[in-house]
Amino acid sequence: MKPAVSSHWSDRDFPEAARELLEDSQTRSNVRHATDVIQAKRDAVTGELPDWQQLRDAGEAIRAHSLAHLDFYLEQFEQACTRAGGQVHWARDAAEANQIILGLIQRHSVTEVLKIKTMTSEEVGLNPYLETHGIRAHETDLAELIIQLGKDKPSHFVVPALHKNRMQVREIFQREMHLPELGERPEDLASAARSYLREKFFRLKVAVSGANFLIAENGAVCIVESEGNGRMCLTLPDVLISLVGIEKVLPRFRDLEVFLQTLPRSATGERMNPYNSIWTGVRPGDGPKEFHVVLLDNRRSPILGDAESRQTLQCIRCAACLNACPVYHQTGGHAYESVYAGPIGAILTPQLHSLEEGRSLPYASSLCGACYEVCPVKINIPEVLIHLRGKIVEEDQKTLRGQLGIWNLGMATAAMLLASGARLSMAQRMGQIAQKIFVNRDGMIERLPFPLSGWTQTRDMKSLPKQSFRQWWSERAAPSEASVGNPDRAGHAAGRGGPDGQ
């Protein structure tokens, strides 16, 4: 059954969505520019740390340990957070999370709320849900504001509007904020956002956030940000509601000493982002009077049961894998048709849908391994991609449609041909004859008929040689001991005196 709200936007598969985006040269150049800039900064600030690999090792170990005892740490978090005056709610799925949050907002009879950027709320479709119940959620992160006012979708989970350049942002702000005179410098745009939101920070009574980390030992919540919009939302309103995936818990406060080094350096290429806030429950006279944490499962827990793909949940959402990925670099985030784009999205999205959706995503990778290399918690994304491809193929093979599918037939044929020397050489001989009409003057094949056309659609193929190795081998004189026709090799073989020569 399809969940009511989905982090996967459409049924289009990756190649189809990517083809459309590849034709959008403006978006591609924006994405290329932004990812190049972040990558260069990230390489510089990770390269300067002599203990970068040790930080990755520690990060991986802490995250894997937290997941291995997730029930234990979640209960510990719940107890500590409650003791500190917070209220903890549990949501099995997106619909339940939305209902809980709506209920909390309605208790305070407000029609507008503040939002700190949270991908988890995108995942559950919170804003449209609130909208249908007459509540307007104001995004306060600059990039999210651009997305919201431009009626667009995020394409990157650290810099959601990375596919827009300053001129495009200016157009959106001019139109939506009624500022015809607005300049195009990033400073002008940031300052427009400041004035637009400031009144809302002071006026609105309820804010909704995500969280980067939960701390089990003391019930603390940590939010990492740049602009101060997060601090505004978690300090000024009377009520704060944080929607957090169950996997985000860390055992102890001091574990942050690892992640507050690796996250900013990986995410934005900064030694430290401008603001990190960590708080526990409520504190009289300082910050909200009422604090809620909504713990969201939404099909995360079953992922824990798969030993090979459990590591997916180690993710701390730095998006370094997006910036490093040659596929993302070309297509940008929208081709993934999902809240979670890029390599991590390619493994997370299908699993969050129990492999019922996003089945083309594990194939949206060349398996080059750049994502694994930059991951601050060492998620072996290529390994998980292959694992998921395997699961998808196995599932497909259980259906008639899958059995008769082109890949299955092709692979079965290949297995049959490669299993016997006689069949292989027969196939080679047939290929040599059949290819003649397709080979061009340079000995290359540019186009093959269906079903092989898929291969030549994006690449030329070298034609089969006139003689295969096996033909060449059998047509020469039977290779007797130590006389293969090459004096050097013969001498070498004779002098070796190995087991063969005795």
Binding site: A61, D71, A91, A143, I246, W279, T280, L304
Partner: protein, 224 residues
């Protein structure tokens, strides 16, 4: 609350089903203690180099930094405020009177048992700036940490006014992030804010630009 209670049970049950056997708390703790932590924890720089690094990092973020002598705090604060054109500042109630120069208006805020109610956000917005101390500072990342401890006030105080003047004692500056956590750990229940330079964004074309919602202007006095 009935459905929420069953949601809790169901989520935990689903997690346990996926993970298999549960371990008792002592064994989880032993496993935690054995996790690899071979990263750098203690700093290696001399005091002088550490302070220089701290200064350089803050300047890279676009903050103003100055080393000042202990007996010149009041004078230096006056100089900075005058240079920034600030007249009315909000301060934590426990800020030492000896820091406050004449000719400016300082409005204490926060703390228990006060006669006047704490300032609202809009009133704080009317201030020219905020003046505080800090809990600890990190040279390697140019970060300063506030924990609502002594001389730091509430979180809103250092957030809403557009200018923040922060006094950091040289002894409060550590080199590495793990060293700062060693200091913060015993008071980890307090609201904790790391700030590294003035508020900024890189959301437009990945260019870091100063000044969005937090204080757009930051000066730091490092007291020897």
């Amino acid at each position: 609350m009935d459905s929420s209670f069953s949601a809790r049970g169901e989520v935990l049950r689903s997690i346990r089903l996926a993970l298999g056997q549960r371990m008792e708390a002592e064994r989880v703790a032993a496993q935690y203690d054995a996790l690899p932590r071979d990263y750098k924890r203690a700093g290696t720089l001399s005091q002088e180099d550490k302070l220089q690094l701290f200064l350089r990092r803050l300047e890279e973020y676009g903050a103003g930094v100055k080393f000042v002598a202990r007996d010149a705090i009041r004078e230096e604060i006056g100089g900075k405020l005058a240079a920034r054109g600030c007249r009315r500042l909000v301060i934590p109630r426990d800020l030492p009177a000896a820091w406050l120069p004449l000719g400016f208006e300082f409005i204490p805020n926060g703390g228990e048992g006060e006669l006047s109610p704490p300032l609202g956000a809009a009133e704080m917005d009317g201030m020219d700036g905020a003046l505080t101390g800090c809990t600890v500072a990190v040279a390697e990342t140019g970060s300063i940490v506030l924990q609502s401890g002594p001389r730091q006030g509430s979180r809103a105080l250092t957030l809403v006014p557009d200018y923040h003047l922060c006094v950091v004692f040289a002894g409060q500056v550590v080199e590495t992030v793990p060293e700062s956590f060693a200091v913060l750990d015993s008071t980890s229940d307090l609201p904790t804010t790391f700030f590294s330079g003035p508020s900024a964004t890189a959301d437009i074309e990945m260019t870091r630009i100063k000044g969005v919602h937090g204080p757009r202007f930051l000066d730091v006095l490092v007291v020897d």
